[in-house]
Symmetry: D2
């Protein structure tokens, strides 16, 4: 698939039509491609637990995160309702020497390691499965496809495609440069290099090395700035492979700047409302990737359970991979 940089509308319309899953799971569907992740796939995934070692794929949630206020997205603000200092000083009024600490958080659901819910993106006013966006996500939240519906299901076989390591420059760090558009060919070549297959119901993790760079050099423009990421042209691969979900170690999943002259996240516009694909962003894949490079095993059991926040269009998540 080649891109006409000057015609995002045309390319989007064509891809939306070609890769639509509307109606595939019935008109009432609220799960999208998560339907591909079935019980057989879970059995297959659980069998990948060989050593019993586990990895968190989440960034830490705190004020040292990537957000800078764009569209009111801040970093998480965590405050205490009670503390150990108060307990030690006897300020709490509890009996028999018990003391306690409580806390509160205020945060955008899109602030750090997250899933994008099916109500997160619309295509010309249409949400997932062809529903009218204004009937789906109001000020009261996502009334139809809220992330809570996915709560039990996001556990299965995970596959890491460490594109940075497989495709990246041999010199230095395994990191793709900003603006690097990962194509279907890159994904296929990486899977081949890793000796791993990708197919129906899998949860695919694509590592670009962008977070490692941000961690080393500072956040800079990471949140929304230039980054490697999936090419718009991977839409077909994402559709054809019938994967259940995909996540990257970048702010925005797809390559930044986007591949059209005047565009904003065009691949999102295909894969969320039209394909119903579950997308994860800002995952921390580095520790897992180092382990995979060590033992040569790029598949594992993965649980990445969104918080069932009623009506949410996304959720922070602490994905846990077990090998």
């Amino acid at each position: 698939m080649s891109l006409d940089r000057h015609d995002p509308e045309g390319a989007i319309a064509e891809a939306a039509k070609a890769y639509s899953n509307w109606g595939r799971w019935g008109e009432d569907d609220v799960l999208g491609t998560l339907n591909f992740l079935d019980e057989a796939k879970r059995r297959e995934g659980a069998a990948l637990v060989r050593r019993g070692v586990s990895f968190s794929l989440s960034q830490r949630f705190d004020m040292n995160g990537p957000q800078k206020g764009w569209r009111r997205r801040t970093n998480p603000v965590h405050t205490m309702l009670d503390t150990g200092t108060d307990a030690a000083l006897g300020n709490q009024g509890f009996p028999h020497g018990i003391g306690g600490a409580d806390d509160v958080i205020a945060m955008p659901l899109q602030c750090s390691t997250q899933w994008d819910g099916l109500g997160h993106i619309f295509d010309h006013g249409k949400a997932w499965n062809g529903r009218d966006a204004e009937k789906v996500v109001t000020s009261a939240g996502d009334l139809v496809t809220g992330i809570e519906h996915m709560a039990p299901y996001v556990a299965g076989r995970g596959v890491l495609l460490d594109v940075a390591r497989a495709i990246g420059d041999d010199d230095g760090e395994p990191e793709l440069p900003d603006g690097f558009a990962i194509t279907a060919e890159h994904l296929t070549a990486t899977a081949e290099a890793h000796g791993v297959s990708v197919g129906r119901g899998d949860i695919v993790l694509v590592r670009t090395g962008r977070l490692a760079r941000a961690r080393r050099d500072g956040w800079g423009d990471y949140a929304g700035g230039d980054a490697p990421g999936l090419s718009f042209t991977t839409a077909g691969w994402l559709h054809r492979t019938e994967i259940a979900a995909i996540a990257t170690d970048t702010w925005g999943f797809e390559v930044r700047p986007n591949e059209f002259d005047h565009a904003f996240q065009p691949l999102h516009q295909i894969v969320i409302p039209n394909m119903g694909l579950l997308i994860g962003e800002m995952w921390d894949l580095d520790a897992l990737a180092a382990d995979c490079a060590d033992d040569g095993v790029y598949e594992f059991w993965l649980t990445a359970a969104p918080l069932p926040i009623t009506g949410a269009v996304g959720s922070p998540v602490n994905p846990v991979a077990v090998k």
Copy 2:
């Protein structure tokens, strides 16, 4: 163990001494009994995935939750930064027909289905492992044992002890009455009735039926009010079995009212700061319990990954059990 209702201080001091794990995993430990959950246990747990069916053990996070404002604990307030109505009306300013919805949450970390972190409770000014509470949890959060340290590890073998079903009145619903103190004998008898063992490194889920009652009859005084729960006398069992974690379907884990004349959550005071035990509260065990009653299998693979909120003394969690 019998209780002197008039001497919480004495009973607590005695139990704290008898069941302390201070120093057991070194002076720098930040994981407590989660140390019992090792790689072998994870392999054992993963082998329990036989059918591939998965269950979320989380309540939904929304304003219809149990909180009523006690100690500034509110239900989660979820608001939208962008909506489908705005997208449909062309208010968002994005190109080529893309629209989006974002959201924000403000919530106490103790508002719904949760883990209590090791910094959540103190005993006479001492936090887990004998540290001074005022050095551990300040206004900046838990500087030592923040829940983020547990992020990769809470995945292993889960065991359901449906005490309500095994011990409860045969008439009507499988629910224990408020004020019912679950003893070690009840736990043992339940495990026996279920044909399941409990041991080192397990994550034990104790169902009382209290949430089912709240769901049917309304929240009422559920949050902090009367409820069935673990007896103070189970401290020895909790220590002896060397379980990694335990969770209940109640607001407060232990029986309410508490078993001493003037007391507040005395079992917490033993098991969190002294034993280093990971405790979960307000879990929704009903769907899982119904399935276990059906197939007679009370053990499963369980992932219950806290959000790695830096310095948090607890975390909302969506535990996922797979059988």
Copy 3:
């Protein structure tokens, strides 16, 4: 004006037409009746400062407020970022013995003593001055009539109409019963009894005694429940007097239950989007009223400056009256 209890639509349409101020201050107007409060009125108001005594007309903002969660309206949640306990214990890392405390608040702007902004209510999709509601208040806030535009102006002559004292039952407390509909005649008679005039540019405060009752008997159903308040039939008086603003000591300004069989705040629907009237709710008028009863002076200088929160459809406020 008599009410047909069965025809809210008809009554609202009639009143909306009769009392509309659309276009009165030009098509770009963002101030509504606040335009009536001019410099001459401010000079008149300032001249009312005779003793120099000042009164706050605000409830305290805390968790002991009236909100119970309806439409996600909670009481204010105030948490500390730094405390004196941390300062005393040396946790803060500042030099030369300085210590500090900081704090955070999360609250609905409609949670307590407040102004309703002009973007708070719509009539059949129309906002103040005839604008389309969907062009005025989006997820980004009120793009046209945000409360910030009123920031400099809400200072002038205040008049207290203590209807509860002037009209209420002689026995017992000066409080009107729930469901009591205050009419134009009641307002006029009260002003007469107080020996005070009401006219163009004034800020009128109407005391019903409802807050005093809530303070004495508990909040109960105060927030949204039954209460005395202005009758729908006062719309003409509110228009004719050309007052700049009006506030009550009740949750909802108008009488509850509302006067139509099936209705929700019909007077709001007239006075905010059609008349452009600035409305205050949940003001605490009791201390001021006691003073006015003492000295017989029911007019004063009043400053009630909303916080200029950009795009807000309302604002918490601490009104200060000086006599």
Copy 4:
């Protein structure tokens, strides 16, 4: 008073002793220098309303504010609970054509135009009036001197000292350079140039021009960065004049960098806990200053009522000056 740049501890101790007001208003005092603002002063202030023109001295509260996350201070996050788009699309479920918009804010109380409460700063563990900091400000807030106590009182005579205009470089904008330490001599000379007196009970506004510069050039390091401001040596003047309150158009009131080699806000340490002085920061004095330069009148009626947030150590405020 000359400063030994190498001895902040000594200078602070000396000034704390020299300018302490502890006990001046009794041991139960919660108002500090606000006690100076009496009824006579309010009568004097009200008499300054000659034209009736009013000014808001507040910045707008939104994401375009100065905060950058230091010590978890963010800009205000304002979100909508209901919108006009939802009303227009019929999503709200209200009868007879009424629609509504509600909103929520989450913000540090120190995020923008504000008063510092008396519990905001401590000196060697002591809060205002000699109280132990740990007894005054706990995780539950300021239990003694919360800003709510000041709610009725902050209304009186305001005086603008436009130091930037009176003292600053004649060339170009009336702005003092960063690092410029305003001394008592500067304050006195400015008052003289303006033909205005400063004395007991006044609320003094000091304009440096720093906000005008930030507005023109961008926030940059405004919040906590270099700025003009009061010299540590003004402590005596602040004490001697017996002013009720003082506010500046800067983030931090005092000159930045601070005047000692290793220091953090040493003047705060004198004036808040020792003197009990009410301090305002980040006020927008520019429109008022332009008017004062025009008409030559630098005194006015000023109401700057903090929100009575129970236990708050500060409050956002919309100060309104009337001339």
